[in-house]
Symmetry: C2
Subunit: 271 residues, 2 copies
DNA sequence: CGGGGATTTGACACATATCAAGAGCGGTGG
DNA sequence: CCACCGCTCTTGATATGTGTCAAATCCCCG
């Protein structure tokens, strides 16, 4: 049997899903200067280049990427990189640290839409309406490369490979979102948690870290929000996985003891 | 048995979401000629231009859009426009008709990821990996404009406004997906159904149709898949809404009797 | 005009949420 | 250095929303 994933569609978001701008004015206020590093970053020399926006670029194309990033910005744990309603100016590449992105409805409901780690790009949510539609907050002290969108447009105007790369980047996000929809729409709680852990593991591996031991930067509640579960359910499932010998959990420290076992749980066929 | 297509993904989709290529070779076979209309389409003369890809383009920019579309393709109800695993060649703009897009997991689980109507673009899911990652099927006899991706790259190379438009298009999809995540992750069944109906209504209005009366092209099961509910639940909620005087339902004919009421249900604050 | 899929509806099961209590841990201040 | 406080996490008991299974009706298509 075939397997697959996701889609596309240009149709608008549900009104339900309409995200409320938070407080545009507040966002306009200048960030503390100390948080902006004016050091010119060199994508071509960055050890994240193969994970990040310039991934796949070569020679002169890679050199062009250097023109994109002039500044970095530090974001302390708990602070936001941007909020819904903020004017859209730049994309951000995570240089170090860990972020969550989330939407908040009128009713105060929160939905975490993703967790971003080094090399991943944030901010494209603002391209369509010129204002950000989600919030991005650091889960630990972090640093991002600021990629002014106008500059990205300028440079990509003459660098086809970069244009292509931006398309890929956004398409990848769309494909990822389809995966989350699949998870939220048709997986049971245990499957969701297993998928979540395996996804994290895979991403850590891509960054040169151990596949089976890592530190969760997010709270149970945030995991729950992302997975469409309550925090107690997440906690219980961690405990259950531990009883099954799949996992060793100590608060935010996770050790995966049986990757295959987790995969089995994730792939459970419901019928 | 499908071949597994390894989709690159930095922040990749869950493995659960790993897409299995369906049968790439099969997709290469020529479509029946009769289904491809060689008539040169004129975006600038199309009545969908303000909803579709060229939306917002003016003058020469709009004229450039005419270069993008050389062919149209008809897809009969029940047939697929493309399937997961098919090589990615083109984007498609729905000219008439109605589509669903969906992913299928190894286990045979299906998740509808969206419904597309006239003016909406399909196919961007294939940009990242050069192969489609979702399936797109017509829910009624439909016609799409075929936009070869290489041509889109050529034309947008010299038309900044078009580049911008493509970015917007993809960003809009991402924002929409966040809305669906919110829906799937934190709304109760009644809220999901209300949001779904209001979203459909809004999109019909944008196309000049009545806001309160329309024909559902999809089955209860497909609505349920999209909303993360079982078909029986969708049916029951339609009935409940009818009892509440919010809706008049007759199989696939829907009349919204109380838009505000539906909105109230959708915005229920849970706390 | 017949037949099979789609829809509705009921009874019941079960997964997950809710409510509640307590434990663990880190930071702060006396 | 210890005690306290607040936050996070765990765990139990119970509630409830949605799924599952089943049957009847409808109706669309051939």
């Amino acid at each position: 049997m075939p397997a697959v994933i996701s889609v596309t569609n240009p149709s608008g978001p549900y009104d339900a899903a309409v995200m409320l701008g938070r407080n545009p004015e507040a966002a306009v206020k200048p960030r503390s200067q100390e948080s902006v590093v004016a050091l010119r970053s060199q994508c071509s020399a960055c050890n994240l280049r193969d994970l990040c926006l310039p991934c796949g670029l070569e020679g002169q194309d890679m050199a062009s990427a250097n023109e994109l990033v002039y500044t970095r910005r530090r974001v302390k744990a708990g602070e936001t990189l941007y909020q819904a309603g903020d004017p859209f100016k730049s994309l951000y590449a995570v240089r170090s640290g860990f972020f969550k992105s989330y939407v908040i409805t009128e009713g105060g409901r929160v939905q975490v839409t993703g967790f971003q780690m080094s090399g991943e790009i944030m901010g494209v949510d603002g391209i369509d309406s010129d204002h950000h539609t989600i919030n991005a907050a650091a889960l630990e002290d972090s640093e991002v490369c600021v990629i002014p969108y106008v500059r990205l447009e300028e440079v990509s105007a003459r660098v086809p490979a970069l244009r292509r790369q931006v398309h890929r980047l956004m398409a990848r996000e769309i494909v990822r979102d389809h995966g989350v929809m699949l998870l939220l729409g048709s997986m049971r709680a245990e499957e969701r948690v297993a998928a979540f852990l395996l996804n994290l593991s895979k991403r850590f591996v891509a960054r040169g870290y151990a596949a089976s031991e890592f530190h969760l930067r997010m709270k149970r509640e945030e995991i729950g929000s992302y997975l469409g579960l309550k925090l107690e359910t997440v906690s219980r499932i961690f405990s259950r996985f531990q009883e099954l010998g799949l996992l060793a959990v100590q608060k935010k420290s996770i050790a995966i003891l049986d990757i295959d076992g987790l995969q089995d749980i994730m792939h459970q066929t419901e019928d």
